[in-house]
Symmetry: C2
Subunit: 245 residues, 2 copies
């Protein structure tokens, strides 16, 4: 078992399963297996890595808990797919009051590449000369405009994304399948604001109505800040639903 150095603050002791974990994460991040593809069996992987099945299991179980893998008894271990369904509901928290999840449909969008601005460089850890892709789009719920958002991503990570004919409703499955970027977490900050004239037009509500503004930074498997998204959402019959544990 090769030693693996790290920059964390725990220099002294590094359990075996932690080292194996890092190896597997790196292999997944490098795209050794495609989304939906099966990994070798527990036993095989354990043999390859030179550890016991129990240790390998611990690794695969924790990766499953982080939703990077999926295990199905009797079938195998698979790279988790950000399917439409899953990608949509994992990070899209809007719902109808009382609980039923709201399903957004794609409406209008525009994409352009431009130089980065200071706040974006801070949010996404970019250098002065980095370029970004700016996506603005509106999404509907139940046929009515509901979400108006501005999405900023580093151009370097998504080459020529602006040349695509159209973007899917769930960007994160596109990030995964076309650019090899797995979104594993998102930090969101919510505040209440009054609808501006632009909001009013995009969301077909009265200017001055209260709206929810959601500021999100999405983080990849490699712990890189990959996307900054600001969503402005109608709050008349929609709520942001979250379960705290």
């Amino acid at each position: 078992m090769g030693e693996i150095e790290s920059v964390t603050e725990t220099p002294g002791y590094r359990p075996l399963y932690r080292q194996v974990y890092d190896i597997v994460v790196r292999q997944v991040a490098e795209g050794k297996w495609r989304p939906g593809e099966a990994l070798p069996s527990e036993q095989t992987l354990a043999r390859e890595m030179g550890v016991s099945q129990g240790t390998m299991r611990k690794v695969l179980d924790s990766l499953t808990a982080e939703k990077l893998l999926e295990r199905r008894q009797g079938k195998g271990t698979f790279i988790a797919e950000n399917t439409q369904e899953r990608a949509l509901f994992r990070f899209f928290r809007m719902a109808h009051p009382g609980g039923q999840r709201a399903v957004p449909e794609r409406a209008r969008e525009s994409v352009r590449v431009r130089v980065s601005r200071a706040p974006e460089r801070v949010k996404l850890d970019l250098a002065r000369t980095d370029r970004v892709v700016e996506i603005t789009r509106t999404r509907c719920i139940d046929g009515r405009p509901a979400v108006h958002e501005l999405i900023v991503i580093p151009s370097a990570l998504f080459p020529e994304i602006e040349k695509r004919a159209s973007l899917p409703n769930t960007l994160y499955s596109l990030y995964q399948t076309e650019y090899g970027i797995n979104i594993t977490a998102a930090h969101e900050e919510l505040r209440a604001e009054l609808a501006t004239a632009a909001d009013a037009k995009a969301l077909q509500i009265a200017a001055g109505s209260p709206i929810l503004v959601i500021d999100r930074v999405a983080v990849s498997l490699r712990e890189q800040k990959v996307e900054w998204r600001t969503s402005r959402v109608r709050s008349d019959d929609l709520v942001y639903a979250v379960k705290l544990t």
Copy 2:
């Protein structure tokens, strides 16, 4: 190992660790050990329950993941305490924009017992004749009023709570230590509203300002809906921060 019946939809097969898990949860819920108290060691518990140490470990680890227990290497396994710090930041999500957690201080409160109303009975699964305790309070952040909330709890679960001289800032540690009720999860729904005259007065902001309204139902270890709380929060320099995974 005694068989334990359940009402879930998995009637056929019931792993050992699941049965042990349920036993330990019941014992914790019944207050067999006090908050902060140490449980017997893994080995001892395993012997008592008639299972291997590995199986016992699986049980204790999953209870730790659910924040019901805490394990400290070299010291032991303890009933998790809803200390001020922890209880505060586990469910109180308000922060300053950019990330730093905001610390609320208790300001004004009033408590009274009254008959339950229809919406409360729906939210908390109460019967027609059940009485509730209503707590209204205002909390400050950085010395300024920031949160104005209405809390409704079933009177039956919190006998004579209304006779206490004052309530702590973190109600959930009170629920745990004085009434044996562990809050383990909370469902929150957020929306944006305009400050009413009452909001304006309580929060010292202008009427018509946008505010965040947080509707929470807190759930106990026994999966009982224990508290319904509506918080109205200033949104001028505070945000609701959450990490989605």
